[in-house]
Point group: D2
Chain length 408, copies 4
C-alpha cells in the first residue's frame, strides 16, 4: 500500500481515537479528516469538535453528524424485518452500525478528496472486518488504516506516554484501565473484555448501563401497543413516531423494565470465541413485536422460508457483509414478504420479560371460521384431512414396505 495523503478517521473524540488522529499525522504525515457520528450512543458530540480542533484539524475537515434516523430506517429496521439473531440470541447491535459508519467515511473521502479511511478497531475483533469490508465494497481503491494492527502502542503505558508526548488531553478517569470495553448506539450497548473475560462468572452489576436490573424494575407490568406497516414499527400506543424516535422510546420503556439483557459467548468471524454483555432493550421489544405481528399476517410458507434464511442473513451482517450481493438478495426476499405485515401488537413488559399478549390486523390471515372448535359451516371439510394424510404418508409406507421386505 502506498502512503496515504489524506485520511478520513472515524473519530469519537475519546482518548484512543485522539491518539490515532495524532499518530496518523505523525506516522504518515497525512492530512486528517474526522467523522463523528451520533448513532444514539448517548454522548455529546460537540466536545469531539473542540478536541479535533485542538489537535489541529481544520474546521472544514471536521464532520459531525446526527445519523440516527438513517441508522434506524435503513439499517436497523431492514434487519428486524428478518427477525435476525446471531447464534440464536444476539441482536447484532454493534454489527449493524458499522456499515453505516463506513458508508459515511467513504462518502466523506469522496467529498474531501481523501484516499484513505481509518478506524479504531483492534485486530482481534469483528469490527475491523465490518468497517473494512464495507469500505472496500463501496470504494475498491480506498486505503484502509487500522492503527491497532500496525502500531507499537498496544500497551496502556505506551499509549498514555504517546498522548502525553503529543499534548493530547487525558481525562482523569482514562488514566487507569477501564474494567471493560463498551460500544453503544441507539440499538444497544455491548460490554466486553477484562472483568468479563471469564465466561463462568456472572457479569458484575455495574456493567449494565442501559437497563434496570429486573429486580429493581417496577412491580406492576406495563402494556404497550406497537403499530406496524409493511414490516416496520411506526407507532407506540397509537402515536406515530419516526424510526429513531420510536426506537428511543422503546429503549426507555424496555430499559425501565429490565428487558433485553444478554450474557453471551459468541463465535467471532476472526475465529475465536468471545464473551459479551449486551443490552438491547428496545430491540428486544421490537423483535418480540415483529414476530407477534407476523404471526397473523405472514403466510406459513413465507414465514418458514424466512426462518430458514435468517441464520445466514444474520451471519452475513455479523461478519460484515452488509454491502454484499447475497445480503441484498436475502433482503429482497425478506422485504417481499413484508407487504402485508401491517397491524398492531399488544405487549406486556414486566421484570425483564416482554411477551406478546395480543395482535390484530386488517391484513390478518387468521380465520376463526376455519380454526374454530365450533361448527364451521363448511369453511373446512375435515374429510379432506384423510386424503392429505394418506398422500403425505405414501412415501413413508413405501419405505416401511421396503424395510419389511429387506428384513431391516
Amino acid at each position: 500500500m502506498s502512503k496515504p495523503r489524506k485520511v478520513v478517521l472515524a473519530y469519537s473524540g475519546g482518548l484512543d481515537t485522539s491518539i490515532i488522529l495524532k499518530w496518523l499525522q505523525v506516522e504518515y504525515g497525512c492530512e486528517v479528516v474526522t467523522f463523528t457520528a451520533d448513532l444514539g450512543q448517548g454522548e455529546e458530540l460537540e466536545p469531539a469538535r473542540a478536541k479535533a480542533e485542538l489537535l489541529g484539524i481544520a474546521p472544514e475537515n471536521i464532520y459531525i453528524e446526527d445519523v440516527r434516523e438513517e441508522f434506524v430506517r435503513d439499517f436497523v429496521f431492514p434487519m428486524f424485518r428478518a427477525n435476525a439473531v446471531y447464534e440464536g440470541l444476539y441482536l447484532l447491535g454493534t454489527s449493524i452500525a458499522r456499515p453505516l459508519i463506513s458508508k459515511r467515511l467513504i462518502e466523506i473521502a469522496a467529498e474531501t478528496g481523501a484516499d484513505a479511511v481509518a478506524h479504531g478497531a483492534t485486530g482481534k475483533g469483528n469490527d475491523q472486518v465490518r468497517f473494512e469490508l464495507s469500505a472496500y465494497a463501496l470504494n475498491p481503491d480506498i486505503k484502509v488504516i487500522a492503527p491497532w494492527r500496525e502500531w507499537k502502542l498496544s500497551s496502556r503505558t505506551t499509549l498514555l506516554k504517546f498522548a502525553e508526548d503529543h499534548q493530547i488531553p487525558i481525562a482523569k478517569d482514562k488514566r487507569g484501565e477501564a474494567p471493560f470495553s463498551v460500544d453503544a448506539n441507539l440499538l444497544h450497548t455491548s460490554s466486553e473484555g477484562k472483568v468479563l473475560e471469564n465466561p463462568a462468572e456472572d457479569a458484575p452489576d455495574y456493567v449494565y448501563q442501559r437497563t434496570t436490573n429486573p429486580e429493581d424494575a417496577p412491580d406492576t407490568p406495563e402494556f404497550i401497543e406497537i403499530g406496524f406497516e409493511r414490516g416496520d414499527a411506526v407507532s407506540i400506543n397509537g402515536e406515530a413516531l419516526s424510526p429513531a424516535t420510536l426506537l428511543t422510546r422503546l429503549n426507555e420503556i424496555g430499559g425501565r423494565h429490565g428487558v433485553g439483557r444478554l450474557d453471551l459467548v459468541e463465535g467471532r468471524f476472526v475465529g475465536m470465541k468471545s464473551r459479551g454483555i449486551y443490552e438491547t432493550p428496545g430491540g428486544t421489544v421490537l423483535l418480540e413485536a415483529h414476530r407477534g405481528i407476523e404471526q397473523i399476517t405472514l403466510d406459513r410458507g413465507a414465514a418458514h422460508l424466512k426462518d430458514e434464511l435468517m441464520p445466514r442473513y444474520a451471519e452475513l451482517i455479523y461478519n460484515g457483509f452488509w454491502f454484499s450481493p447475497e445480503r441484498e438478495m436475502l433482503q429482497a426476499a425478506i422485504d417481499h414478504s413484508q407487504a402485508h405485515v401491517t397491524g398492531t401488537v399488544r405487549l406486556k413488559l414486566y421484570k425483564g420479560l416482554v411477551r406478546t399478549v395480543g395482535r390484530w390486523s386488517e391484513h390478518s390471515l387468521y380465520s376463526e371460521s376455519h380454526v374454530t372448535f365450533e361448527d364451521d359451516a363448511g369453511a373446512y371439510d375435515q374429510k379432506d384431512a384423510a386424503g392429505f394424510i394418506k398422500l403425505n404418508a405414501l412415501r413413508l409406507r413405501l419405505l416401511a414396505m421396503r424395510r419389511r421386505r429387506m428384513g431391516g
Copy 2:
C-alpha cells in the same frame, strides 16, 4: 379400507375417548384394545383401567404404561439437542409426544394381532397428521380410524346423547362445554380453542395451569446449575438425575418462577392459523441452558450449520415426520455435533425470565489467551487480520470496480 377387526385405541379414560371406544364397538363391531400412557400429563391412570373395564374391554386388552423416561430420553432430549423451536417460539411440546404414542400403538397392534389403530384427534388439527404419519411409517398396512373425521357426533349435544345411550359415565364437569381444550405431557401444557380463539385478546389467567403468574412468582431470583453430557442434561445443582426426573424437576423450578409461558399464533400443517397458549417451564429452562453450554463447547461452523438446519428440523417434527428419513438424517448431523457438548451452565430464574449467567467445561473452546484485551503472548497475530480482510474483500472490490465501470 376394509372393515377393521381389532383396533388399538389411544385411550385417555376421558369422556371423548370413552365415546370413541364405544363407537368403535358399535360402528365397526370390532374388538378394542386400549392404550393409556403416562407421558407426565399429571393424571392418574388407574381410573382409565376401571373405565375401560366398565366399557367391556378384557383385562388383557388394557395397556397402561409409564413411558415418561422413554419420552424424555428418546424424543425430548434428541429434539433439544437441535435447539428446536417452531416459528421462532414454540417448543413443540405436543408434536414430540405423538410419535411415541403411535409407536406403542403399532407395537401393541403387533402383539395383540390388531389390524387397526384409532385416536381421538380432530380433523382440523396437526395431531391427526402426527399420529397417522407415524403409524403408517411403522406399519404400512395398518388401518387408521379417526372417529372425529367420520362420525356424526361432532356437536356437544349429540356426543352427550351418545354417551347416555351407551351408559358411558359423564363426569359432572363434562356436562357443560369446557372453555378451552388442553393437552399436557411432561414437556408442556397447551391450551386452545373457545375463549382463546380471538388472538387479539389476552388469555385469561385461569388458562395457565402449570406456571405461576410471573407477578406472583418469588421476589428473589433462584440460581441453578445444569450439567450436560454430550448434549443432554444429566444433573441439576450437581445431583445426577434420570431424564424424566430431571425434566420434572425443571418443571417445578421453572413453573415456580413463571418461566415458559407463550401466547402464539402458529401456522398449522393442515393450512390454517391457530392460537395456542403454551406452558413449557422445564423446556424453556433446558433450551436456554443447552444454548448456554453450546456457546463454549460447540465450534462456530457446527453451531451455524445447526442454526440453519433447525427450522427445517422443527418443521418436520411439527408436521409429524419424526419417523422420516430426512428427520433421521438431520438427527445424525445434530447428534454428531454434540460429542463435546459437556459441561455446566449456571442460570438465573426470576419472574418469568431465565437467563444464562455462567458456563464452564473441560471441553470449552473459549480461549482467554486468544480473546484477551491484554497482551496475548503470541497466541494470535493481529496482522493476520489484514490479510484475512483483504481476501474476504476481494470479490466485493471486484464488484465495486464493475459498478464504477458500468456507471451503475
Copy 3:
C-alpha cells in the same frame, strides 16, 4: 361443494378432454367454456374449435389462444434465471406450464361468469396439484372439477363406450391404447406410462419425438452464441429474438444434435416414484448457457446462495406452488442477482452434448490481472493469503487443541 353452474375446461381437442366436456354437460348439467392454449405443443388449434362447436359449445364460449410468448417470458425465463432442476436433472418442462394454464382458466372464468374450472389430469399425478393450487391461489372460491378423480370411466373400454354413446368422434389411432402418455409444450416433451413403466428397461427409440438420436445427429459439431441481458437470453448468433422465438430456435438446434434427452425416475409430490422420458433440447442448451454467462458475471456469494436456494425453488415449482409467497420471495432474490448477468456465451453442440466453450461480457468480474500466473503488478498480494488462512484455521486449531487435551 355445491353444483357448478358454468365451468371453464382446459380443452385440448383430443378424445379425453372431449369426453370430459360432454361428461360435464351430462353429469353436472352445466354450461361449458373451453380454453385451448398454444403453448408450443406443436398441434393445430383450429380443429379444437371445430370439435368444441360440434359438441355444442357456443362460439363465444370457445377460447383459443397463442400464449407462447407469455409462457416463455413470464414463466420459463424466470425459472431459468434460477438454473432450476428438480432432483438434479429434470428441467420442469411440464410443471412450469401448468400455472399459466390455470391463470388463464381463472381469468376466463371471471370474464364469463363461470364458477368452476376443470382439467383432464389424473388423480395420480402432479399436474392435478399444479392446476388446482394455482387455481385456488388466484380465486379462493373457485370450484375445481377433476373428472378423472370422480367418474367411473377410468377403463379404456368404458371411456370409448361413453364417447360412442355421446357421438364424440374418435380418431382411428385412438381406438387402441397409446403405448405411453405424452405432454408437450415449447419447453419440452415428456413421455411416461405403459411401455415406460419398468425403470430397468431402456426407453424404446420411438418414444423420442423431438430430438434426433445422438447416433444419427450430424457428425460435425455446431457452435452457437447466445446473448443474455439481465439473466434472460435475447439473441442467437447476434440475432435478437423474442423469448418464444428464441426458445423455438434453440429447440431446433438442440433437437438436431440430439441434445436434452433424459430418462428419469422422480419422486412425485403425491408420494410415489414415477419414470419419465423428457426431451428438453432448447432448455438444456439454455441452462448450460445461463450457467456459462453467470460464471463470469455473477459474484461468488450470489452464485452460491443461488445454488443453495435452487433445490427448494425447483421443488416449489414441481409441487405446484408457483403462485405462493415463498416462490415469489425466492424469485425476488434470484431476480436481484441477475442485474449484471449480461453477455455472450459460446457453445458447442455435438451428438447429444452441449458445452460452454467461451463467454465474455462487459459486466465480467473475471480479472486476468488478479488470477494470472504472470507477475500481477500488485493487484494481489500473495502474503495476504497467509493471514487469511491463519484466521480461517483458528477455530480448527482450537478444536484440535481440545481433541488433544481431552485425549479424543
Copy 4:
C-alpha cells in the same frame, strides 16, 4: 513463527518442489523429509526417490506411498455419496485430494519428529488454503511453510537460476515455460493458467490429456452396468472391483468416449475468478450412475434434503474444510441416507455423453402398482388427492381472500 527445525515437504520430484526442497535447506537450514504420494496422477514415483537422494535427503527421510485406495475409499467415495458439484459443474477433483496429502504430511511429521510441513502451492490459489486448513486441523501447533508466498524466486528466470546455482537437474522441457499448469490424480486432470487465461477463447485441443475428443470417440455407444452398495460403486459389468481399481476402469471407459470434459470459470475461495479445464471421465460416469441408483432407492424426503445440503457440502470441500465439524455433520447426514442405495445402473456412453438408461434394485422404492396407468387394484385411491390438494391449497386461498379484501 519461530524457525522450523525439520520439515515434511509434499514432494513431486518435479523441478518446482525440488527447488523448494533446496530452498528449505538453504533458507531455513532445516532438515527435510519428503513425501511423494501416488494419487493416480500417472507418474512414476521412483525418480522422485532418486532425485530426493541426489538433493541430499537421507533414505529414511524419503516417504513414497501408493495412497490410491485410501484416496478413493475415504475421500472420493464419501464425496460422491453427496453428488457434490461446485458451482453446478465442478467435480472437485483437486479439492478432494488435498486433505489426504495434508493428513499424511502431519502423520509423517509426528513419526519423524518434524515441526513443520511445506507445500508447493502458490499464494493465489485454493490449494494453499486446503493444504493448510487440513494441516492445522490435524495438528494445531504445526508450522506451515509456503515458499511461493515467501521467496523472491517468483519469476521463471530467477527460479532456473536458483536451480542451476544449486545443481538441481532441469529436464529439457522445463527450460521453457509450460503453456499451462496441470494437476492430476485418479479423479481428474485440471489445467489452468497461461493459454487458458482468456475465458472467451476455447481451450486448445492439446490441453486435454485424459479424454478422447468426442469427435474422435468410437462411433458406437458402449453400455456398462455399475453396481452400488450403500452408496458406493462396487462393480462394473458384474465384476467386483476395489475402489481405486473401479475408478481407474471408469476413467478408461469414460476417457475413451470423451466423457467428462469441463470448461469452467469458478469463484475461488481467495476471492477472484479463475478459469479451469477439467477432465473427470470416471467421476462424471460415477456421478450419473449414483444419481441413477438414488432415483429408485432414495426416498424423496431424503433426496431433496441431500440436494439442499449439497452446495454447502461442496463449498466446504472446495474451500478446504474437509476436516471441519460442519463437513463431518453433513457427512453423517449424507451417509445415513445411503443405507439402501444398493443396486445396479445401466449407462450409455457415446461421444462425450453418459446417460442412465436403466436401473434396478432389491431396495427399490419404485412401485409399479402405485404409479401405473392401469387399474391399480386399490394400492392408491385417487380420491385421496382431492383432500391432499384442498389442504395444501388452504393457506393459498386464505392469501387470496386477503388480497381480495385488501383490494391488492
